[in-house]
């Protein structure tokens, strides 16, 4: 078998390179930090990217050289793909990692692997069932959910039927929002009936649109209010409501997070309120916390980055504008 010669040649090649490269330790004084989102197409993650770049720019202005590597899973919302990204960066030997875990359990082992390779990890956005990380920088999603529930409850005057379309199985951040919403209604608005709260939308807008249509074809005639736990569900549910002529306030919609489309819907009155996080601040603090940790400073194990409720009336205020329209171009360039 001549093929064995080639196998041997490949082996030899690996061997030679493996031996020759031990000394080749790069990094000229600067820190290399990888920021790993859950996906790259949602606008939320672009704000996260911008926040990381903002931190980098400020650190560089202060004389600290930092390289930010931005790398999401190849397939959006695929746990296995995100594990691969984490593993590949461990093998590559970055100085630190900022990770938004796709699953609170599946990513536990990769984060421990990073710990064993002396790579500290700061968790952002979604929780992880482990304590092997340096810090957890995120919105208090439960409070965000309660805020959405309170607003919807007041809009409906404490009575009526509501729907909640869950986001995706195993996503800790959205599950907390959903729980917060349900708890708020149960405790403070007992007159409101939840028609359905056990359906999942799925990872993409397309799936969320289908799930919304299915839900509305069943409950479309009796529903008075809807809670959507993330951006893709908000946009898709609003679209599905428009299709059946229930948009524009006939059915009150409270969404979560912002995108170009959901802000347009808020302005036109199809959406009555959006609970917004501060992704720029989240990533910014994530990177800053990691750099502090790498520099030997003590960091808090839990850092809250806050939520706000945006309505048609307050969306023009400057503090809301900064949240709604983060200057992405300033950090990411026009290409993004």
């Amino acid at each position: 078998m001549k093929s064995w010669i080639l196998v041997a040649a490949c082996g030899a090649l690996i061997w030679v390179c493996g031996c020759g490269s031990q000394s080749g330790d790069s990094a000229g004084g600067g820190l290399s930090i990888v920021v790993i989102p859950k996906g790259t197409t949602h606008e939320f993650w672009k704000s996260i990217h911008a926040g990381a770049v903002k931190a980098q720019q400020e650190l560089e202005a202060a004389g600290q050289r930092v390289e930010i590597i931005w790398k999401g899973p190849l397939k959006e919302d695929d746990r296995d793909e995100q594990i691969k990204v984490v593993e590949n960066f461990i093998a590559r030997g970055v100085d630190g990692m900022v990770l938004a875990p796709l699953d609170d359990k599946a990513l536990v082992r990769p984060v421990e692997t990073a710990g064993n390779a002396d790579i500290p990890v700061v968790i952002i956005d979604s929780g992880l069932e482990s304590d092997q990380y340096a810090s957890f920088v995120a919105t208090d999603n439960y409070i965000g959910g309660r805020m959405g529930g309170e607003h919807l409850g007041r809009l409906l005057g404490g009575k009526g039927n509501v729907l909640m379309l869950r986001y995706a199985v195993g996503s800790a951040s959205t599950t907390k929002r959903e729980n917060g919403f349900l708890d708020e209604l149960k405790e403070n608005f007992p007159g409101i009936k939840v028609l359905s709260s056990d359906q999942y939308a799925g990872a993409t807008r397309d799936l969320a649109y289908t799930a919304s249509q299915n839900l509305l074809s069943r409950y479309g005639n009796e529903v008075n209010g809807v809670f959507c736990p993330n951006e893709s569900v908000t946009v898709s549910m609003t679209k599905a409501l428009r299709d059946i002529g229930k948009a524009g306030g006939k059915v009150k919609v409270i969404g979560f997070d912002t995108s170009v489309q959901s802000l347009r819907d808020l302005k036109s009155g199809d959406v009555q309120g959006l609970v917004v996080q501060n992704p720029v601040k989240m990533a910014y603090l994530g990177v800053m916390t990691l750099v502090d940790h790498l520099g030997g400073k003590p960091v808090a194990k839990r850092i809250d980055t806050g939520v706000a409720l945006v309505t048609r009336d307050n969306m023009a205020q400057p503090d809301m504008q900064a949240l709604l329209d983060p200057p992405l171009e300033k950090y990411l360039g026009s290409g993004n």
Binding site: A9, C17, G72, D78, R79, N88, D103, A106
Partner: protein, 332 residues
């Protein structure tokens, strides 16, 4: 004389995946940034671990494709079996029982595939396309539409794909890697040197001729799909070990990666050609490309484009080879 031998189609086909891997490694070596990071022991362990699931599936798929069939249900069966593994661990079974029962479920799906294909003379593409949906649906049903996380983890299963303890050195390799290497050797022998293996090639080359030669095509075909299902079941156990949870939505599109690995490995979708080492190398090569693109900071879309190009190139070799052969023949 020697040149004529080099030009023979069989030889070129057999070495194609190795040449491909060789070229990829050579290209990686020429790049200073990749050289310093890619060729490290820890990184190779990472790549090998990432290859395990696709390689396990590819071994089953190789037999199916060599026999002239296709199995599109592979990804769904992997998801189903990862959920089955989780449920079995929840019920407190040990390693042997979990492995056996999960693999059995995979084989059962294969039995359904093979049975329907032979009994009703249906296209494997259609039957397994249907099974893809059925198995995915059953796995979501079995998992109650969420991930299944056993309260008391079974260490021996979790360890199959665990490289968390020594991420920076090549050894020790996770158990799963050794298992795949061992199975690759066994399956190579089965496919090349046993009667069953030769039947697989005979059926794939020309089913009617095989039948006329006295080969019991139907029962052999069923056996092929069952065996493939067994491998997908094993890949499901590996998938569970990787996520440490049963995930009904995992491995979407995995069948396409597996088929790509088999095709890069020199198999022909019209049957009669293919090899186990080739398919395993194909899987390894795809993992190398993904890993290398990560190190180079290529954006994800570049990585997708590159892997797409590699698949077409690998199959395009089929068309280049006759030209090469003619060239060599003229020389001798």
């Amino acid at each position: 004389m020697k040149l004529a031998q080099f030009g023979s189609g069989d030889f070129l086909k057999a070495i194609r995946p190795f040449v491909g891997l060789f070229v990829v490694l050579l290209l990686f070596m020429m790049d200073a940034e990749l050289r310093s990071v890619f060729f490290k022991g820890g990184n190779f362990k990472t790549i090998l671990t990432q290859t395990v699931i696709v390689a396990t599936g590819a071994m089953g798929m190789t037999m199916v494709i060599v026999s002239g069939g296709i199995d599109l249900s592979a990804g769904s069966v992997v998801a189903l079996c990862s959920v089955v593994t989780a449920r079995l661990i929840e019920q407190g079974h040990g390693l042997a029982a979990v492995l056996t029962l999960t693999v059995l479920i995979g084989g059962l799906v294969g039995l359904a595939n093979g049975g329907i294909i032979t009994a009703f003379r249906m296209m494997p593409f259609i039957v397994t396309l249907g099974m893809m949906g059925i198995a995915r649906g059953i796995s979501k049903w079995l998992a109650n539409n969420q991930t299944v996380n056993p309260d008391e983890p079974l260490e021996s299963v979790n360890r199959l794909m665990d490289n968390s303890q020594s991420p920076l050195t090549f050894f020790p390799l996770p158990d799963g890697v050794w298992l795949v290497l061992g199975l690759a050797v066994v399956m190579t022998v089965v496919l090349r040197a046993t009667v069953f293996g030769r039947y697989v090639f005979a059926i794939g080359s020309n089913e009617d001729t095989a039948r006329l030669c006295g080969i019991r095509v139907s029962s052999n075909k069923i056996a092929i799909y069952v065996l493939a299902g067994v491998f997908f079941g094993l890949a499901g156990v590996m998938q569970f070990s990787r996520l440490t949870q049963g995930d009904p939505s995992v491995a979407i599109g995995l069948e396409l990666q597996i088929i790509a690995a088999v095709v890069i490995g020199g198999a022909s979708l019209s049957g009669g050609a293919g090899s186990i080492p080739g398919s395993v190398i194909g899987a390894f090569m795809m993992a190398c490309l993904a890993n290398g693109s990560g190190i180079k900071d290529w954006p994800n879309y570049m990585q997708e484009i590159i892997i797409g190009v590699v698949i077409i190139l690998a199959v395009g070799m089929d068309k280049v080879e006759p030209i090469l052969q003619r060239f060599f023949r003229r020389r001798t």
